[in-house]
Symmetry: C2
């Protein structure tokens, strides 16, 4: 059986079903899809959760096609905007418009990170040279060595915040480097064309989980309270159901695993990881407009802002073009600050920088959605669970190790593209192999 | 009403009762006392949780007396042992026997920390000069600047691990300094005579909570599932009870608060703190012997070991002297490593260093208890919840702020002696004032 019907759980359930196994899926939320969440808005449908696919993400690209879905490119034509406090600058290319010395320092920092990340593997981060020393520092400590000026720091902060939903001060330097490595490097994670934000899914990404689970035995609204292992199998108790199975696949984020009572308890290293993981803080902002006025002004819709509250925005117009839209992210500390404001003050806080970037028309969206993932039940944040210093050093070996009849899936356990849809799928393939091997060896 | 019957909850309940208020207490565990836990062992009773009181801890000293309990000094006569890998050295005084250059560096590091901690107040750590930069670093990053040699580092690690149940790499430098400040400095927290380990309570510390709650309306075995606030009061739903009250005092560790559903949800900053807090990892080791053979050899029973698995030990003989005993701590990474071993291997892992320090007699305790607080239901670790980098910067203002009709108590919220019995009592006094003020202003 599978606990959790996000993309990782859905893909695992489908793979096990295709293997000829009987699979039951329990999902705590009232719908499947986890951190993918598609809603009809304005004249189209939009993703309130994960929405992008990059060219290096082969599994999800293939799956989209297999499930009969289509992709289309993120709109990137035109000039980009860099907001540095009250200053507004426009640029083209990948890196915000900075002075030559600023650019050199930024490049130096990026090259330094690139060199370091190539030595750190997500599969086993503790084998990196100097792994323990790197895990004893924050990303902020490592970055401080490059002595970036405020504008350059700001541009980099915007990218870090958007990728992780966190601050450089929150993250273990080792975890950061391993994560970069899993995703192909910093510029690849931050980029649109050629990067992780290159393509979107027509009709929304939640359809992936929906279609994968089509025809399977799925029960929504069933938060799991207890998982008990014995010599013959696993008993899973949810709100109203009691499921007995040979094996259980846990497809819930590590941070949510803490709410399940395990009998026997999970071993110390895994419990330690679950206890130390924290979800990124992300408020996804969708602003729908009657006209794509930024395109008409020669702007691509992409904004980078070092000071927040919006860290980045992109054009998010619907596939047909019928519903012009911008998408933005309020992330890390800005998300925590934003969600302490009244509803009206939150709107103003995101409309101000949009107007600064795109002009007064941006102040009048036909619809404005601020989706706070931190308050989403049974998820508790986005895009992914994170580790501060020290956690990997103690317990990284437990990240994806099966525990008796329990298997652990989810983008957090991926060996490629952690934190992305692709990672969820990679982890499902690993668990399929685990279960196959277990059934072959033990027959159970 | 009060949720949680650890020392903070017990003291708050008693204070509110003495105010003439009707107080109901719900406790998740089957007994009161939280992280104080007293058990009959051998010829006496011993504390498996918090057991010491320091001279600076005025409230708990007074309370012990008021409740008719007595204290007695931790035994410290004789020579101490410093284990540095295979090397065994003896010393007297507070700092393990190191060479003169080692001692100088250690003093320099301690003085540096002392200077820094005086600038950081636990009451409002973000007002410290450079607070944000300090919170963006780990304690390990700060300490690495002092370039300590392995032996000196080890001695310091042993103290850090024992105080926090964590590694220097796990802790925000700012959190560490604020914690030191709350407790009167590093040497005071690490020390026996004149320090936080000076006195013990005859009969055990769990009696404090028991006696405070004597005659009050206490329900054990009632984990709280939901806390709902409305304009007229608070409704608390536990396993079998449904309690309606004007106000609710939450006396559970921040890490346990995550398992309660709050309606309305807790504000972002508090939720962020609760999500980021992690409990220290501590296995408390009690070794009972027929004779205090270490005393007979002129040893005090105090060992400091930089390499683990035991970080420190002390003499722990019963008040009457009838039951000779040693107490030790396996903490931080060593706790995580130890609890992955078999029961037999765990015993060997702690008996080996005891024998190295005290000779072969130490290998044959009449009873050996390894109490792993991480696996203790509804507690999840000891001594205290900790913060890695970044958490205070984002959300420290929410640490002890009441939220409507909810008040937050516990040693984690203390303004003095955070992490100690004293801190629990200090926080109870603060909440009494909060509730008094609220009742006076609103009458509710």
């Amino acid at each position: 059986m599978v606990v959790g019907a996000g993309l990782a759980g859905a893909r695992t359930a489908r793979l096990l079903h295709d293997e000829g196994l009987r699979v039951t899926v329990l999902e705590a939320r009232d719908e499947v899809g986890g951190r993918t969440l598609t809603r009809p808005l304005g004249a189209s449908t939009f993703d309130l959760g994960g929405q992008w696919i990059g060219p290096a993400q082969k599994r999800v690209t293939r799956l989209v096609r297999e499930l009969g879905l289509a992709t289309f490119p993120t709109f990137t034509e035109g000039t980009k905007v860099f907001l540095d406090g009250a200053r507004r600058r426009t640029y083209r290319g990948d890196i915000p418009s900075l002075s030559i010395p600023q650019l050199l320092r930024m490049q130096l920092a990026l090259m330094g990170l690139e060199r370091q990340r190539r030595r750190v593997s997500i599969v086993d981060p503790m084998t990196a040279p100097d792994a323990e020393r790197l895990d004893a520092q924050t990303l902020e400590t490592v970055r401080a060595r490059y002595r970036l000026d405020p504008a350059t720091r700001g541009a980099m902060d915007a990218a870090i915040r958007t990728i992780f939903g966190a601050e450089a001060a929150d993250l273990s330097a080792l975890f950061f480097l391993a994560y970069l490595d899993a995703g192909g490097g910093f510029m690849s994670l931050a980029g649109t064309r050629g990067g992780a934000q290159e393509e979107r899914v027509v009709g929304g990404t939640q359809n992936l989980s929906r279609r994968l689970l089509d025809g399977l035995d799925v029960h929504v609204g069933e938060p799991v309270l207890q998982v008990r292992q014995d010599t013959h199998g696993v008993t899973v108790q949810s709100r109203t159901l009691h499921v007995r199975a040979r094996r259980a696949v846990l497809a819930v984020p590590p941070t949510q695993r803490r709410t399940i009572a395990f009998d026997p308890p999970l071993p110390a290293a895994r419990a330690d990881l679950d206890r130390r993981a924290f979800m990124g803080s992300t408020v996804k902002v969708l602003a729908l407009y009657d006209r794509p006025f930024w395109r008409e002004a020669g702007l691509s819709g992409e904004v980078v802002s070092g000071r927040g509250p919006l860290s980045v925005t992109f054009d998010n117009t619907s596939y047909s073009g019928d519903q012009p839209a911008l998408v933005g992210f309020v992330v890390g500390r800005h998300a925590r600050e934003l969600t302490q404001l009244s509803t009206e003050a939150r709107r103003t806080a995101v409309l101000d920088p949009l107007a600064q970037a795109f002009g007064p028309l941006a102040r009048r969206p036909s619809e404005l959605i601020l989706h706070d993932w931190a308050s989403e039940p049974f998820v508790g944040g986005c895009p992914v669970s994170l580790f501060g210093p020290g956690a990997l050093t103690s317990s990284s070996h437990a990240l994806r190790a099966p525990e008796g009849r329990l298997h652990f899936v989810g983008t957090e356990t991926a060996r490629e593209h952690v934190g992305y849809l692709e990672g969820a799928l990679e982890s499902a393939e690993r668990v399929l192999t685990e279960v196959r091997n277990a059934l072959q060896t033990t027959g159970l």
